[in-house]
Symmetry: D2
Subunit: 342 residues, 4 copies
C-alpha cells in the first residue's frame, strides 16, 4: 500500500502512520520528498480498510496496491475462463469461448403453453439457453410473484423438448437446492449482488452461476462479489452487465457497454450483457444487443415473449418473436467483425 503525507506533516504524524502499517504486517519503505513524504508498504495483510489511513492526521491520500480480488483477477488465469454448461443428454455449451451464446426467454414462467411457445421461438432463432423466472423479486408487494417450483418444472420440460439449457434466478439461499435440481445456470439478480450469505453458499455448489451487476455497483465491487463464489471453490462464474442507475431516466437504466471491455481486461471471467433490463424498453433492446456484441460480450441475455402485450411481468421490455429473429440475423453479421461466431 501507499500513503502520501500532507505537505508539512510532522515527524510524529509520519511515525504514527508507519506504526500502523507495521501493525498490519507491512514492511515500510519511506521516501522523503521536498514536498511530500511517501510511505510504501509491502507484504502486509490484504483485508485492511484503506480508509483507516485516510482519516489519520497528516495523511493526504492512501492507496491500496494489491487489487482486493485475487481469484477473479485476470492474472490468476491470463488465458481467460471458458464456462462449460450442461452435458447429460444435451450438447454442452461454452461461455467465454469463440461462440457468442444467446440466452433468451420470458421474464417469468407463466403457464405451460407460454413457456413451450417461448422455448420454440428462442430455439428456432438460435438461442442455446432459455431464461425464465420462477421466483420474481418485484418492487411492489402487490405484483405477480412467480409460479415457484411448478414454474421450474414447466421450463425444464420445455427446454428439454427444444434442446435448450436453462438459466433461472435464485433469490435466496434457501432456494439453492431447488434451483440446482432444475437449472443449468443459477442466476443471481442485481439486487442480490452483495447478498454475501447467498454468494458464499453458491461457492459450494458445482453449477455455473450467472452474477448480475448491481445497479449501483462498480466493476470492482462486481469482481469482489464474484470472488466470494470463487473463494468457495466454484470457478464457473459468468458476469452480466445489465445497466446502472444514472441521472438519465429516459431509459430505466443506463447500460454501461464499456464495462464489457473493462471486465475483459481486469478479469478472466466471461461477461454477458442483458439489454432487456439494461434499457427497460423493447425498442432499445436490439440496438443495445448489437452494441454489446460489437464491444466484445461473450453472450446475451434477452427477454422474448410470444405475446409481450399480455406478459405478466416485464412485457414492455420483451421482444416480439419477429423482432428476436431479425435481431439474430443482425448479430450473425456483426460477430465476425470481432472474431466471433454466433
Amino acid at each position: 500500500m501507499l500513503v502520501v503525507m500532507q505537505e508539512g506533516a510532522s515527524e510524529a504524524q509520519v511515525q504514527q502512520v508507519i506504526d500502523r502499517m507495521v501493525q498490519l504486517g507491512f514492511n515500510v519503505h519511506r521516501s522523503t520528498g521536498v514536498v511530500h513524504t511517501v510511505l510504501g508498504g509491502v507484504g502486509g495483510k490484504q483485508e485492511f480498510d484503506v480508509a483507516t489511513f485516510e482519516v489519520m492526521e497528516g495523511v493526504q491520500e492512501a492507496h491500496r496496491i494489491m487489487s482486493p480480488y485475487k481469484l477473479a483477477n485476470r492474472t490468476f488465469r491470463p488465458g481467460g475462463t471458458v464456462v462449460k454448461i450442461g452435458g447429460g443428454g444435451h450438447p454442452p455449451v461454452e461461455i467465454g469461448g469463440n461462440q457468442v451464446v444467446v440466452m433468451a426467454g420470458p421474464c417469468s414462467v407463466e403457464t405451460r403453453d407460454q413457456i413451450e411457445r417461448a422455448a420454440e421461438i428462442v430455439a428456432r432463432g438460435g438461442a442455446k439457453i432459455i431464461r425464465g423466472g420462477a421466483f420474481k423479486p418485484r418492487t411492489s408487494p402487490y405484483s405477480f410473484q412467480g409460479l415457484g417450483e411448478n414454474g421450474l418444472e414447466l421450463m425444464r420440460a420445455a427446454a428439454d423438448r427444444n434442446g435448450l439449457l436453462v438459466v433461472s434466478e435464485v433469490m435466496d439461499l434457501t432456494q439453492i437446492p431447488l434451483l440446482v435440481q432444475y437449472a443449468d445456470i443459477l442466476q443471481v439478480g442485481a439486487r442480490n449482488m452483495q447478498n454475501y450469505n447467498l454468494l458464499r453458499e453458491l461457492g459450494r455448489i458445482r453449477k455455473p452461476v450467472l452474477l448480475k451487476r448491481g445497479i449501483a455497483a462498480t466493476i470492482e465491487e462486481l469482481l469482489l462479489s464474484a470472488e466470494y463464489i470463487l473463494a468457495g471453490g466454484n470457478y464457473d462464474v459468468i458476469l452480466c452487465e445489465r445497466g446502472i442507475r444514472t441521472f438519465e431516466n429516459y431509459t430505466r437504466n443506463t447500460m454501461d457497454i464499456s464495462a464489457i471491455p473493462v471486465v475483459k481486461k481486469l478479469s478472466h471471467l466471461p461477461i454477458v450483457a442483458d439489454p432487456s433490463h439494461g434499457t427497460g424498453r423493447r425498442d432499445k433492446v436490439a440496438p443495445m444487443a448489437r452494441a454489446a456484441l460489437a464491444a466484445g460480450a461473450d453472450g446475451l441475455l434477452m427477454e422474448v415473449h410470444h405475446d409481450p402485450d399480455h406478459a405478466l411481468s416485464d412485457g414492455a421490455q420483451s421482444l416480439y418473436p419477429a423482432q428476436f429473429e431479425e435481431l439474430m440475423g443482425q448479430l450473425r453479421m456483426i460477430a465476425p467483425a470481432v472474431g466471433r461466431s454466433i
Copy 2:
C-alpha cells in the same frame, strides 16, 4: 392513470391504448386536444406496469397517478407514526415523537470488554439505544465477518447493564428468530433494502424494523420496500437515510439530507439518519449529524468506538468518545430550533 398520445397519433393507436386500459379495469375518459389526445383512466388495478403503455405505438408518455405505496403514504396516517420501542424492564423509547433519539455504538461487536465500554460511553453521552453488528456483510470475503450469536449475547448484556435498548442488523431471513430474541429493533441494511423475501418475513414479526435506504434507491423505492413490511401487518417501521452513490467520491457516499424533509412529506413513517455510513469518514460525522437534525430527522444512528484505531471494522468512520460527547452537546443546542428535544 394518464396516457398522452403523440402529436399525429392515429385513431387506431388511440383505440389500442383505450382497449388496454379497459383490460386493466380502468374507466377511460378521453380528451381530444388540438395537438394531443389525452386518456385518463380511473379505478383500474394498481399493480400494472406503466412501461407497458410507454412502449405502445403512438404513445408519448404515460403516468401512474396513484402512488404505488398505500400503507406507507402520509395520507394513510396524516398525523405521523410514533414507534414505541422496548418496555419490560426498560423505559420505553419513542421514535417519531418530540424527542430526537440517538442510537450509537460500534460497527461490530468484537469482545465483551469492547461492547461494555461502548455501552458506557454512549449511555453517558445520552444515547437511548446501542447499535452493533453480530453478522457483518463485507464487500471482501477476506474481511472480519462478525461474532454471530455470541456477539448478540454480549451486546444485550452490556445494553441491559446501561439501561439501553438494542438495534442490530438481520442479514438473512434465517436469522430473524435469533435477532428477535436479542434485539429491540431489527435493522435491514442498505444492501438488503430490496430483499423482498426478508422484508415479507419482517412483516410477520411484532418488533420494530429499521430499514436503511439502499445506496442507489430512490425515495419512492424506499417507501415501496417499507410497504412490504407494512403489508404484512408490522407497522413499526423506521426509515434511515445513510448516503447514496453519486459521482463525487471524496466521501464514500453522498448523504442525501434533503431526503429527510421529502420523506416527512410523502410518508407518516419516522426517519433517522446515519452520518457514519453516510460519509465514511470520522471527521465528517459531526457536521452531518448536526445537519440531519437541523433538517428534521427523528433520530441519529452513529458509530462510536472506545478505540477506533483498533476497531475490526469501520474504524475510519467511528467517533472517538470525546468527539461523541462534544457532538451531543451541539445537538442539544440545535434541537430547539426545530422544536425538538434530545
Copy 3:
C-alpha cells in the same frame, strides 16, 4: 398540461390550480375521480415552469404534455435531417444519410508537421473530416491551452491537401468569426452545451454545428440546447454523445450508447459518438466505436495522433495510427448489419 390533485385535496385548492392554469392561457378540463381530481390544460403557453404547480397546496404531481422543444422534435421533420457539409473544392459530405462519417484527428493542433501527419493518417484510413482543437478548454490553468488562429491555419492547409473537411471547437462567442473562416463544422464542447449566449449566436450563422452532450445533461436538455440553435434559423445541427458522469470511475466517463437510439426516436437530428472522450482510455476506444456504430450512430469522432505518447493533450485516449486502421476495417464489417456503409 396535466395536474393531479392529492387524495383529499380541498375544493379551494382545486380552484386555485384552475385559476393559475387559466392565467397561463390554458383551457381547463376537469375530471373528478373517486380518489383524485385531474385537471387537463390545453392551448396555454409553452414556456411555463411546471414546478410552479408542483409546489401548490393540494397538488400531487404536474406534467407538461408538450415536449419543451419543437424544432428539434422528430415530428418537425419525420424523415430525419441530413446535414450537408463542405462544397467549394471539396466533395460534399453528408451526415445523417446512408453513409456513416468518420471524423478523426488529434486533440490539439500542435505543429505543422504533427497536423500534416495526422491528416494523412486519417485520410488514408477513410475519414472524411479532420478534427483538432485550436483553443483548448483545460481543467487546470497550468495546462497547454492551444495554438489559437495559427492552429486553425495549419489544420485548414493540412485538410485541403488531403481532401478533408474540418471540424473544430468554438469556446466562446467572440471566436465565432474566426472559426467560421477556417472550419466546416463548428463544435460546441460538452462544457458549453448550456452556454446559451454562444448557442444563440450559432443560430445566426450558416455553417453546421456539432453540439456535444454535457456530462450531466439529460437527453431532453441536449435537445433543448439544439433548439436554441435551430430557433435562430440554423438547422444544420449534429448531436454528439461523448459520455456522461456516473459513479463508475474506471472509465473517465460512462458512454451512454443507448442515447443514440433514444435521440433517433425523439429527434430528426443526426447523432454521432465520440468514444475517445467517452472513455478517456485508448484501449476502450475501438470497442466503443464499434458499439456506437452497431447502435445506429450516424458518425464517429475520434482522436488519432501519429505519436500519442508525446501528444500535448489527451495522449492517453488517442489511437495509434495502426489501431485506427484496424478499427476502420472492423467498422466496415459492422456497417452492413445496420444497413449502412462507411
Copy 4:
C-alpha cells in the same frame, strides 16, 4: 507521482515508464516488491496527464501526488480566507469570518416595484446582501431572459436604499465591465463553472467572485476552477454548493451538504450554500438552509420574492416573505451551536 506496475510486468515495461517519468522531469525512486514494482516520482512538472501512465503497458495504476490546485489549497493559507465586500457608503461585510452572511432576493429582477419590495423584505429579515439576476441563462430559448442593464440599475438603487450589497450573475466575459459597475460580488453560475475564458478574465478584476459548483462537478474540479481565478491575482473567491445531479429526482438536484466540511478541509476559501437551487422546491429550502448552517457554511444564498406565485422565473423555489422571516429566526438559534453568529 506514483506508478504501480502490474504483477508480472516486464523489465522493459518498467523501463518505459521510468523513461517517461524522466522526460517529465521527475526524479524516480524504484521500489521492487515481491508482487509489484512501485515507481515514485519527485519534482517533475505539475501539469501532466496522469492517464498517460494509466494506459501504458504493464501499468496497474498511477496516482498524482501533488494536488493539482496550489493557490486554492488550504496549505496556501492555513488560517482561511475572509473575503471583505463593499465599503464606500456601506458598512463592509465579511464572508468567511465569524458571522454567517445571508444573501437573499428574487431569481430575476422583474420590475422596479418588485425589486424594491424584495430589498425591504430581505433587509428587514437580516440579510446583508441582495441577489437578483439581470441576465438569465434559461434551459429553454422561449423563457424570460432577464432585463439586462436596466435590471442592474434597479437592483443597485433598491440595495442602496436598504443598506444592502449586491451579488449578480455574469454569464459571459463580455458582461464583466457592466457587472463590475453595478455589483459588489460577481456570481459565476453552475453552468459556467468550467468556462475558463470567463474565469481567467475574472482573475484580472478586483471584485469578489462567487463561484457556484457545477451540477456534475467534483469538489476537486470546483477548486481547480477557483484556481483559474486565483491564478490571475484575484484572491477573493467565495465557493457555493448548490446541488449536484444524481439519480434521485424528487428534488431537482441533490444538495451535497457534506461538500461544506470537505471544502473547509481542502481549501482556505469560504463556502456558502444555495438551498433554493439545491432543492428546486420552496418547501425544502428551510430544512436545507438550516442543515447547511449546521454543517458549517459561511453563508446562505436564497431566493425570496414578495409574490412567488407570480414570479417570472423560479417561483416554485422562492420563499414567501413570512417563510423567510421564520427561517431567519431558526438560523439565529442554530448558529451558536457551530460557534457562529448571524
